[in-house]
Each structure stands twice: as structure tokens, then as C-alpha cells.
């Protein structure tokens, strides 16, 4: 029955323990809605036929609803609404209180990618490995603007807010791959900010975790931001260094050193602040705003760079500040919600 409804309503598979709860209340509401809707529609239709106009100046009797009827129409829907509210709230509280034995994962949103980090060290970009059948607590934050971590198959969504953590949890019921989307509008590549949850069986997960132990990504002070490194690789691969330098000397294109947040004069007059949006736009539509003094020769990288590439390139450019380098912004401390 519920499987049939799920398919009729185009819902994705129920990949988590939360999903079946959310779907339960969904089905309850939608069935009630259709029953009541059909009843109202039918009543209206009958009235429409039975009391259709026979002549223009007809007088009609004054009919007033008795008080008990008004009371009925107030109380019955109210009862249903409050019931739904209460049932939903029960599940909501459940979905916001992670069980104590949950595996912690730090999730960081950034234009336009997701970064995952496990407490013991390994991290990953855009792929989250979790064991199936075990609760996983997500501690979510953002590096720049608000994002929202959304796994349709888990019916799970939580915003990533810069400067603080939000918390949610899930338990994947079976191994599989589940897409992750960003549900809060976050700029140019919002629709490409995608990732994946890979649920592994517990044994497979252990194997994976041991493998990861070798090459820790985030392992103490002094290590360059992995994204910055990735950005340098992307820049080399895409041939950016043929025109742009990183040491401050102008070349065919403006140097990247200190470019980030610099006010650049445009050849059309006016200036532009080289923020993330402008940098991204310049990769995709280079001729739109050309910095004064440079020839409009840059090709468009539309379609040649993935959202992740763009993110890492921007991160790389950001890292090339002339003055003191901004220290790595995200410093993930121990975060204890329990027993506050």
C-alpha cells in the first residue's frame, strides 16, 4: 500500500529510517486531503446542478448556518490539523536528536561543493561514505553563504550556516548511492552543487576507513588547504598559467596575486570588485567584463570546468593574497551539543 502510494506520488526510494516516518505523515495528509477535496467538489457539483439559475430575478430563501454546524466546521479540521502538527513534531524532534552512539561527520558547504571530514582525520570532497544501519550525526557548517544539505532519498535537509553548526542525523537502511543536493539558493552554480552519500555495509565501511587512514587529508598545522592545491592542479591542467601569473607580474591576463577582492578598472569604465561572483563569471563569460588594459582574448571555460573545479580555482586565487595570508577560516573544534 505505502509502496504503491510512494510510486504514485513520485517519491524517491526510502533510504533512511527517517524517510518512512516522513512518508507516513505525508500519506496521511494527502489521503485526507483527497477525500475531503472530493467531498467538497462533489457537494459543489451537486449544488451547481440542483440550484442552477432558472430565471434572472429569482429570490432565494435566507439560509443561515446553525451554530452547531459552525462549531463542527471549526473543530473537525482543527482537530486534524493539530493532530498532524503533533505527529509531525514528534518525528521532527526525533530527527533532530541524534542517538548517542552516532558516528560524527563534519560537513562543510562551500560555493559550490560539499566537504566531509571524519573525526579521526580522513576527509573527502563531494562523496560521503557512511556505514548502513548505523546512525550518522552530521555537524554542518558553511564557509561562505547559506547552503542546505539535502538528501531526497533520506527525506533529510538541514541548512549549512556560516559561523555556526547545525546538527542533524540519519541512518541509511541499506547500502547504496544517494545523491545530495543543495536546497538553499547559494549563487551562480547552485544547481551544480551536488554530492553523493555512499552507504556501505558495515564491513565494507571498515575496509574503506582503513584504506583512508594512509592518506589523511587534514592532519594538523602547516598543511596547505587541499582545495588550494586542487585549484593549482586545475589551473595547470586548464592552461590558466599561460596568461595569468601568480607572482604579481602582469602578463596576457591580470595577475592572480592579490586579485581577490581587488577593485579592478573595467575597459568599459567603472570598476568591479573581484569577488567570487566576478571571478566565476570571468571564467564562464570572459568578455562580459574585461579589466582595462587587457585584450579580450580569454576563451570561455563554460562546460570545461566542473563546479568543483571552479570552487577550487577560486579558492586558489583567494589564497594568493599579497599581504598577510588569511589563516584558514574553518577551524573545526570539538562540538558537544549533548549536555549543554
Amino acid at each position: 500500500m505505502s509502496e504503491l502510494l510512494r510510486r504514485m506520488l513520485f517519491l524517491p526510494e526510502e533510504g533512511s529510517t527517517l524517510a518512512s516516518r516522513v512518508d507516513g505523515i505525508h500519506f496521511f495528509i494527502i489521503l485526507t486531503t483527497f477525500v475531503v477535496g472530493a467531498a467538497i467538489g462533489l457537494t459543489g457539483f451537486v449544488f451547481l446542478l440542483r440550484f442552477r439559475r432558472r430565471h434572472a430575478h429569482a429570490l432565494t430563501p435566507e439560509v443561515l448556518a446553525p451554530v452547531w454546524m459552525e462549531a463542527l466546521f471549526v473543530s473537525v479540521p482543527l482537530l486534524f490539523f493539530l493532530l498532524w502538527g503533533a505527529l509531525g513534531y514528534r518525528d521532527y524532534v526525533w530527527s533532530r536528536s541524534a542517538p548517542p552512539d552516532a558516528l560524527d561527520v563534519y560537513v562543510t558547504g562551500k560555493q559550490w561543493m560539499w566537504k566531509f571530514a571524519y573525526p579521526e582525520g580522513p576527509g573527502a570532497v563531494d562523496v560521503l561514505h557512511v556505514p548502513a544501519g548505523r546512525p550518522v550525526r552530521l555537524l554542518i557548517t558553511s564557509r561562505d553563504v547559506i547552503h542546505s544539505f539535502y538528501v531526497p532519498a533520506f527525506r533529510l535537509k538541514m541548512d549549512a550556516i556560516p559561523g555556526r553548526y547545525t546538527e542533524t542525523w540519519f541512518e541509511a537502511v541499506r547500502p547504496g548511492r544517494y545523491p545530495v543536493l543543495c536546497a538553499e539558493y547559494c549563487g551562480l552554480d547552485h544547481s551544480h552543487m551536488r554530492a553523493e552519500v555512499v552507504a556501505l555495509s558495515p564491513a565494507e565501511f571498515e575496509v574503506w576507513r582503513t584504506q583512508q587512514g594512509g592518506d589523511q587529508v587534514a592532519s594538523g598545522a602547516g598543511v596547505a588547504e587541499p582545495l588550494v592545491e586542487q585549484g593549482r592542479v586545475v589551473a595547470t591542467r586548464a592552461g590558466c598559467f599561460q596568461c595569468h601569473t601568480v607572482d604579481g607580474t602582469p602578463h596576457i591576463g591580470p595577475t592572480w596575486r592579490g586579485l581577490y577582492l581587488r577593485e579592478e578598472p573595467l575597459d568599459t569604465g567603472g570598476t568591479i570588485r573581484a569577488d567570487v561572483a566576478y571571478l566565476t563569471e570571468s571564467m564562464m563569460e570572459p568578455q562580459a567584463k574585461v579589466v582595462a588594459g587587457y585584450a579580450p582574448v580569454m576563451p570561455s571555460f563554460q562546460g570545461r570546468l566542473s563546479a568543483g573545479d571552479v570552487a577550487s580555482l577560486v579558492e586558489f586565487i583567494q589564497s594568493l593574497r599579497p599581504e598577510r595570508p588569511v589563516p584558514p577560516t574553518v577551524q573545526e573544534p570539538r562540538y558537544e551539543l549533548r549536555g549543554r
Binding site: 490539523f81 521532527y92 535537509k157
Partner: protein, 545 residues
């Protein structure tokens, strides 16, 4: 519509021809002319917003880039949202029909502050021009919600848009102030509160929301502007601020704003249901108190936009339960309208077709609203196409249908002429059908997990997007037909006469179109509004068969 043999004649002098020349329009203090000017302005903004809606649907026809890039798409949906919300839906019914009819319905010569009324119009025009110019010129890409910190970080030209909306907000406040004062002080002697026409009640409730909520929006927009100019950091986490506070303040306005959009529509429907069923509303009291209830409780529910935004669990629960209370008032109205048809004499004409569409769509729009206000269900639906479909059901399905119902019901009142009735009903059916084809698939898209504001999407979403785009083109086509036949009818429609519908609404007691001073002699309202049980105490001038 077929007519009796004796053709009614156009009144020789009425508000449209009492004074001549563009200057007499631009400097008029006449509430009817200001209403008509608002109508023209709003139709322009609606056209602009609608064109961008179609462009958006076209882009979403296929995954990947179809007609515009991501940046252009982001700017287009911002423009669509800002225009439709602030420049069309919020002012739509109150400033047009409200302005035109409110004094007529309460037997007054004008609104309480006629000059303020004109000022409100010009403020609206200035704000609208600023906003549209800024969006077209600078290309804002924040979405109509201006969420911080994105709106303070983006490189696009947010500032002029904020200022434009700020100015439009002033216009909204002044209109609301004017209407409240008019209802309080200018009612004809003997017209008690429980004898007001239901449309007046609806405008009154709306005005309260406008006056109390809009200033908060104004201040929030000002703070965002200050944040961009001098970096005050009130909503910026890097400076210790909290983006959620922005959302609180923004939704404190923007949730009640939804009721600013729908309450006047409900008023129109209450009038039209009575007029075309020739029947008293089955419970006037319920319709009145639910209007007041929506206006009040609508302010308590804003947090249901923030269930997954990191708001506290207790906060979410509070807002969820309070949201359930506001739903009950809408449900009551739907029950009342439906049962008003009982023992009536129902005339299936153009306005009533829209009324039926309104009730049907409002029911599903409202129920999906209850559904997303259920905290756990919102975990899945928040910020997906389910929400998009939900609020389009309310804003287009209900508000716009009510606007069209009102336009068709009062078109003879405003311009003294009728439109081709058959074409009207046919177009109404086409529009309702087009609407359902557009937005029903979006519910399913939301269920599948398609987030909103996506320029591009995974391929398995495509079939439903194709259906939606097809529906949108039907909808657009329907509007073109309406524009064509109403435009034609302005000059060539049959003369309507004073009361072509045989309605007992108070506004039909003066000529159609009304004289400049509204009444030639003080009118007498011999019965309660919407009373069809008694033979006429005053000759009823219905010319329709």
C-alpha cells in the same frame, strides 16, 4: 450574455469623461481614477513578470542550458519574484478594486485622504521604476528573499532594488492607512460593523497587515543596504551577527504578506459567490471573523519558513502549531462559500467560473500549505518544487483567479460595458486547465526532490518539467485572449447599464460607470449586503437575461 430588448444607455456624464486630458488624470484625487491608474500600472508589471516566468519555464524545458545561462537564469527568477510579489500581487486587489469600490460600498464620496491616495500611486510608480530599472540594468541574483549573507556578498547591484522595494513599501503603508481610516470614519450613518460588505472587511483586514508588517520589512531592507554600504555586520556571521535574525525579521513581514495577497482575493470571492448564487452567505459572521483571524494569526506563523534553517526545536514546534491555527480560518471560508451555493440560483458565468477555480485551487493550495507547515514533512519539502507549487497555487491559483474574477465582475462597473460572455467562460476554463497543467507536475517534482531556483537539473526530472512548461504556455495564451477581448470591449462592448448582474452589492447602487461624485443623490441601502431573500425595496436594474 443575452440582453433584454431595451438596450441600456451609457450615463451621459461619469468619472471617465467628467474631466478630460492626461493632466486631469495625473492630478486627480478621485479614488476611481486612481484605481484605474493602478490597474494600468499593475497590468504592465504583471506583463513583465509574466514574460520572465515564461522565459524561466522555457529554460527549464531541458536540462543544461536551453535559452539562458545560469547567471541570466538567476537574475530572471529574482526579477520574476520581486516583480510579482511587490509590484503585482501585494498591491493588486487593494489598490485597484479596493480603491475603486471601497468608498462606493460604504456610501462615501471618496477615501478619507484623497491626496494621500494619489501620493501612494506616485510612490508606487517611482518605486516600481527604480526596482525594474535596477534589476534590468544591474541584474540582481539574490532571489526575492534577499537572504543574507548571500545578498550582502553578491557582486550584483542589490542596493537600488532594496531602495525600490522600500519606496513601494511606503506606498503600501499609505494605502493601508487610508483604507483603515476610511472604513472607520466614512461609513454611511447606520452602517454598523456587522453590515459592512465582505469585500470591505477583507480590505480592512489586509490594510491592518500592511500597516503593521511593512515597516519591519522596510527596516530590514535598510539594514541589508547599510550592510552593503558600510558593512554594519548585523546579519553577517563574520562580524558576529546572525543570518537567522534576518530570516526572522524578513518573514515577520513576508509571511503576513502572503495574506496581504490572498485576503482581498477572499473578499472578492465572498462578493462574487453571493452575487452569482443570488444568495446570502451562509454565515456572514464566520466570513468576517475568519478575515480578522487570518489577519491576526497570520503574524504568529512566520517561523514555518525556517524549520530546516537551524532554528531551535522549540521554536519550530511553536511556529508549527500556530500555523495550524491559521489554516482553520481558510478552511472555514471554503466551507462557507461552498455551502452558500445551497438553495441559491447559480449563474455559471465568467466570474463564477473563476470563483469555482479559486475555491478548488485554494483548497489544494491551502492543504499543501498545512502539509509543509508540518515540521517533519517539511524536512523533505522545504525549498523544493513542492513549495513552489504550493505558493503558486495560492498566489496564482487563488489570488490571480480572484483578481480575474473581480476584473470580470466589476469590469461593467468600472467601464460601463460588457465583454463577450462565451469567450470569457471559455478562456476561464482554459486558464484553469493551463494552471493545473503548469503547477500540478511541480508538486510531483518536489516529491521527487527537485530543489527550487535550479538553472539546471538531473535528467530524470525532465518529463515533468516539459509538462509544466506546456501548461505555462497555455496560461500565457489565456492571458493574451483576456487582454484582447477586454481591450476590445472597452470601446465596443455592449453597454452594461447600471447593474448588469442584478447584484445586490452596495456598489451597484450608483451608475456604471459611476459619476465623479459617486452618487447623484444619497443612495439608500435598504437591506443587508448580500441579501437576496426579499423583493426589491428599490427597483433592481438587471439587464442580463
Amino acid at each position: 450574455m443575452s440582453f433584454e430588448v431595451a438596450e441600456p444607455a451609457m450615463p451621459r456624464e461619469h468619472y471617465l469623461n467628467a474631466r478630460r486630458g492626461a493632466w486631469s488624470w495625473l492630478t486627480t484625487h478621485d479614488h476611481k481614477r486612481i484605481g484605474v491608474m493602478f490597474l494600468v500600472a499593475l497590468l504592465c508589471t504583471f506583463l513583465l513578470g509574466g514574460m520572465f516566468a515564461l522565459a524561466l519555464r522555457l529554460e527549464l524545458l531541458t536540462p543544461g542550458e536551453t535559452v539562458m545561462g545560469r547567471l541570466a537564469y538567476n537574475r530572471a527568477f529574482t526579477l520574476h519574484g520581486v516583480i510579482m510579489v511587490w509590484l503585482f500581487l501585494i498591491p493588486s486587489i487593494p489598490t485597484t478594486f479596493g480603491n475603486f469600490l471601497l468608498p462606493l460600498m460604504i456610501g462615501a464620496r471618496d477615501v478619507a485622504f484623497p491626496r494621500l491616495n494619489l501620493a501612494s500611486f506616485y510612490l508606487f510608480v517611482v518605486g516600481a521604476v527604480m526596482t525594474v530599472w535596477a534589476i534590468l540594468e544591474g541584474g540582481v541574483d539574490t532571489g526575492w528573499t534577499f537572504y543574507t549573507p548571500y545578498s550582502t556578498a553578491t557582486g550584483t547591484d542589490v542596493l537600488p532594488v532594496l531602495m525600490g522595494v522600500f519606496v513601494v513599501g511606503f506606498s503600501t503603508i499609505l494605502s493601508g492607512l487610508n483604507f483603515i481610516t476610511t472604513v472607520h470614519t466614512m461609513r454611511a450613518p447606520g452602517m454598523g460593523w456587522m453590515r459592512l460588505p465582505l469585500f470591505v472587511w477583507a480590505i480592512y483586514g489586509t490594510s491592518i497587515i500592511q500597516v503593521l508588517a511593512t515597516p519591519v520589512l522596510g527596516m530590514v531592507l535598510l539594514l541589508v543596504a547599510l550592510e552593503r554600504v558600510v558593512g554594519v555586520g548585523l546579519f553577517d556571521p563574520a562580524r558576529g551577527g546572525d543570518p537567522l535574525l534576518y530570516q526572522h525579521l524578513f518573514w515577520f513581514y513576508s509571511h503576513p504578506a502572503v495574506y496581504i495577497m490572498i485576503l482581498p482575493g477572499m473578499g472578492v470571492i465572498s462578493e462574487a459567490v453571493s452575487a452569482f448564487c443570488r444568495k446570502n452567505p451562509i454565515s456572514y459572521r464566520v466570513l468576517v471573523w475568519s478575515t480578522v483571524g487570518i489577519a491576526f494569526v497570520g503574524f504568529l506563523t512566520w517561523g514555518h519558513h525556517m524549520f530546516v534553517s537551524g532554528q531551535s526545536v522549540l521554536g519550530a514546534g511553536t511556529f508549527s502549531i500556530l500555523s495550524m491555527l491559521v489554516a482553520i480560518f481558510t478552511a472555514l471560508k471554503i466551507f462557507t462559500w461552498t455551502s452558500t451555493m445551497y438553495r441559491g440560483s447559480i449563474w455559471m458565468c465568467t466570474p463564477f467560473t473563476y470563483v469555482l477555480g479559486f475555491i478548488f485551487l485554494l483548497f489544494f493550495g491551502g492543504m499543501s500549505g498545512v502539509a509543509v507547515a508540518v515540521t517533519s514533512a517539511d524536512l523533505h519539502w522545504h525549498d523544493t518544487y513542492f513549495v513552489v507549487a504550493h505558493f503558486h497555487f495560492i498566489m496564482v491559483g487563488a489570488s490571480l483567479m480572484a483578481f480575474l474574477a473581480g476584473l470580470h465582475y466589476w469590469f461593467p462597473k468600472m467601464f460601463g460595458r460588457c465583454y463577450p460572455e462565451g469567450l470569457g467562460v471559455g478562456t476561464a476554463v482554459l486558464i484553469i486547465f493551463g494552471f493545473i497543467t503548469t503547477f500540478l507536475p511541480q508538486f510531483l517534482l518536489g516529491n521527487m526532490g527537485m530543489p527550487r531556483r535550479y538553472a539546471d537539473y538531473p535528467e530524470h526530472f525532465q518529463p515533468l518539467h516539459v509538462a509544466s512548461t506546456a501548461g505555462a504556455s497555455l496560461l500565457g495564451f489565456g492571458f493574451l485572449i483576456i487582454a484582447a477581448y477586454l481591450g476590445w470591449s472597452l470601446r465596443h462592448g455592449r453597454v452594461a447599464g447600471r447593474n448588469p448582474w442584478g447584484s445586490r452589492g452596495y456598489e451597484w447602487h450608483s451608475d456604471s460607470p459611476p459619476p465623479e461624485a459617486n452618487f447623484h443623490e444619497p443612495p439608500v441601502f435598504p437591506y443587508r449586503p448580500h441579501d437576496y431573500s426579499r423583493p426589491d425595496l428599490q427597483p433592481e436594474v438587471g439587464h442580463a437575461a
